[in-house]
Amino acid sequence: MAADHDESTPSDVELRVRAIESVLVEKGYVEAAALDHIVEAHETSIGPHIGARAVARAWVDPDYRQALFADASAAIAPFAHLGRVGDQLIAVENTPDVHNMVVCTLCSCYPWDVLGLPPVWYKSPAYRSRAVKEPRSVLAEFGLTLAPETAVRVWDSTAELRYLVVPMRPAGTDGWTEDQLAELIGRNCMIGVELPTVPTVA
């Protein structure tokens, strides 16, 4: 992380943040320790490992797979931090015929309770502007070139529904355990801009 200013000299933004935090704490609206806990939960407990567990389970357990597509909020809750997932979470399935990708053109809507807070690129004007107009070009920039016969389905999250892409299980993973499979499933696969790949053994 490159510091763009002297560590001992806070930036204008840092000063504004300190000021508003001090005021809101002194007003009695928030306890500073509660803020620490919110930051800590997002830095340590809420992340893409939650979604990855669900996808891996769906790959090995047909009943779970059915439950995930019927009600993703309920199906993922057992894997979530404190067992909590917001409602109206929808799992969408990649197939040889259709590849799914998720965007929020209007702001930054994202299933953060199962994938963690969104990466900067997901919130960037470049992704938000282009995903709905030139999805294949955007995917190519992530190194994913789709076959011409595979349709692209873009889900613009314009309301309080959230989407989780369930990628196809990669070839060469027969007999793998759920834990091993979960390791293959990165955040970007569940946004729909990458595919899980099996590392080549050296």
Binding site: L24, E26, V30, C107
Partner: protein, 216 residues
């Protein structure tokens, strides 16, 4: 509003640049801004769409040159002042003159804000559209908040799925309360949206509230 936040289909923003092994927060102040917004939202004085409108209504020059969490800071400052939870001179000095009203957000409240809130409500009547119906996104341009992106307005799509009624963002931000509306997934073919310039074999869907749609 037809603001700079409504980015779908805009050109000129360049390639998508993904960072390897990106941290959750790039600077400690980003985490504080995120946590302050989360804790203050829990008071229920404003809702998520009032927060979004506070960002969308930043001057375009500010919106386009601010980082994500800089916009969240601007949103929090704006809402705290708008709802008189603090005064401008207090924010300037970084000290509160007088304590504010209850409640206080404490560590006991943290678990309650670590999942997304629910916006599902009951509606007074049944849904107007069913899966398979052809619908046109209305050509609306409200000056206030809306969740119908410009790139689908006046275009024809197909209802794919009917969801539960949800709190209607446009109404909440106007100050008219939740007025729950049926919510649909509506899919549009690439050619319908982008004509001959569409990439091959692409479909885009949005979630559209019933007042955004008319039969086609």
């Amino acid at each position: 509003m037809d603001g700079v936040h409504d980015l779908g289909g805009m050109d000129g923003y360049g390639p998508v640049r993904a960072e390897r092994d990106e941290p959750v927060f790039h600077h400690p102040w980003e985490g504080r801004v995120y946590a302050l917004n989360t804790a203050m939202s829990a008071r229920g004085v404003w809702n998520i769409d009032i927060g979004r409108f506070a960002i969308e209504s930043q001057p375009p020059r500010v919106y386009t040159t601010s980082s994500y969490y800089e916009l969240w800071l601007a949103k929090l400052e704006k809402l705290v002042l708008q709802y008189h939870l603090a005064e401008a001179d207090e924010l300037e000095r970084g000290h509160a003159d007088v304590p504010g009203p209850e409640p206080r957000f404490t560590t006991a409240d943290v678990a309650g804000v670590l999942a997304r809130g629910s916006f599902v409500r009951s509606a007074e009547s049944g849904p107007r559209f069913a899966a398979g119906d052809r619908v046109r996104a209305r050509n609306i341009h409200p000056r206030s908040h809306t969740r119908l992106p410009r790139y689908v307005r006046n275009h024809v799509g197909v209802v794919e799925r009917v969801h539960d009624p949800n709190v209607f963002p446009d109404s909440v931000v106007r100050g008219d309360g939740p007025q729950p509306q049926w919510l649909y997934t509506v899919r549009f073919d690439g050619e319908e949206l982008w004509g001959d310039d569409a990439e091959p074999d692409m479909v885009v869907s949005v979630n559209a509230f019933e007042p955004y749609l008319e039969s086609a």
